[in-house]
Subunit: 211 residues, 2 copies
Amino acid sequence: MTSRGPYAGTGKRRQQIVSAARDAFALGGFRGSSVKEIADAVGMSNAGLLHHFSSKEELLLEVLNLREQSNDLPDDVHGLAVLDHLRKVVQVDSVTQGVVALYVTVSAEATSPSHPAHDFFVARYRKATAALARRLQEARDEGKLRADLNPEFAARQLIAVLDGLQLHWLLNPDVDRVREFDQYLDQFLSVFSTDENIRTIDQLTGESAIT
Amino acid sequence: MTSRGPYAGTGKRRQQIVSAARDAFALGGFRGSSVKEIADAVGMSNAGLLHHFSSKEELLLEVLNLREQSNDLPDDVHGLAVLDHLRKVVQVDSVTQGVVALYVTVSAEATSPSHPAHDFFVARYRKATAALARRLQEARDEGKLRADLNPEFAARQLIAVLDGLQLHWLLNPDVDRVREFDQYLDQFLSVFSTDENIRTIDQLTGESAIT
DNA sequence: TGTACATCAGTGAACGCGCGTTCACTGATGTAC
DNA sequence: TGTACATCAGTGAACGCGCGTTCACTGATGTAC
């Protein structure tokens, strides 16, 4: 009556597949990558791969929903510290090339409503903007950012810069996303920070290391 | 010996096709749009369409190279006026939804090196960045922008914001690209403008109307 | 501890589908005389 | 002005290909007794 459950190594195998799928989708998008290509990367047949995931689409959603790499803002990041957090996400991603590359590439093709991940990305951008705006509002309420800052606009702008730089970098690896984003943060702080000692992101990072 | 040349209405027909193709590619990208879909939009068979363009790929390049919509910076735009120009591009594009939508959607899928438009976009971003950076440098040399502005970084950042906002808007039409970009320009000017009377893009537009 | 057997992991081949492209063909167009 | 005919515009059908998915099957694994 009851099923036996998976073999010992199955979990690890699924992880390998998801990881290879993430790399493929990040590079070529969903439509530009084939099941065979991903199956080859983990050394099995495409039929074998579909024993673990019932369809290519399900595999995509699995990749997108991976908790570990979901770049939601952690709950313990409050107020201005969110800028420092974003900065670190960019730094890490510059090395691992994981999340941001995947999200930008796939979200662009997911703009067409017929794309299987369309709803996912619509929801994701809504949530990401709201979460970031909330942190900025906190910072404003604490008096650390100027009162005339519009949290929602600022949040969208930050995300736009992140995505735009990533897109740019994919076409021209010479682009230094980390420095470029730091420069944007400096510009942002020099306009909106109320603390004269915090005019650059480096100064903020130094500060929040203590907090 | 000599060929007779096309019929009277052929030029117009080709334009119809290119226009329909641009709309299709802007919405679904190159891989996400089919020749049949474009042929249907102009009321002919896919074989008929390929009488005018020998392949889908050639049609894409035709669309991308269309002079009229190529959003290169015009030669008569100098110095700080470039910001006002970009602003107008965004405004126009918000209505026509032509160029920027197409370029963002297709450039994202063109990040994979095997994409037929890969080289086109690599070159395009290089040129766009350089052209914009040159205008900013002019403005700096004229003393209108602060000396510590890095023209290349600023140019990349501006393009990143444009592309990021467009991407965002495609996923959520509530996003007001025009206001959002204006806000970025305000922020930019309030940091880098040396003229205390030019702190917002509206002030600049008022100024440059005279110049 | 040993063994029977249900279930799991994975394969190779085939299926059906949509795609871009080609082909033989028909009717319209324009040019040479 | 009229006409023959080469070329152009466009069609319907078919081709070949790669794709995601399905299917019948084999061997490995783990569990119940």
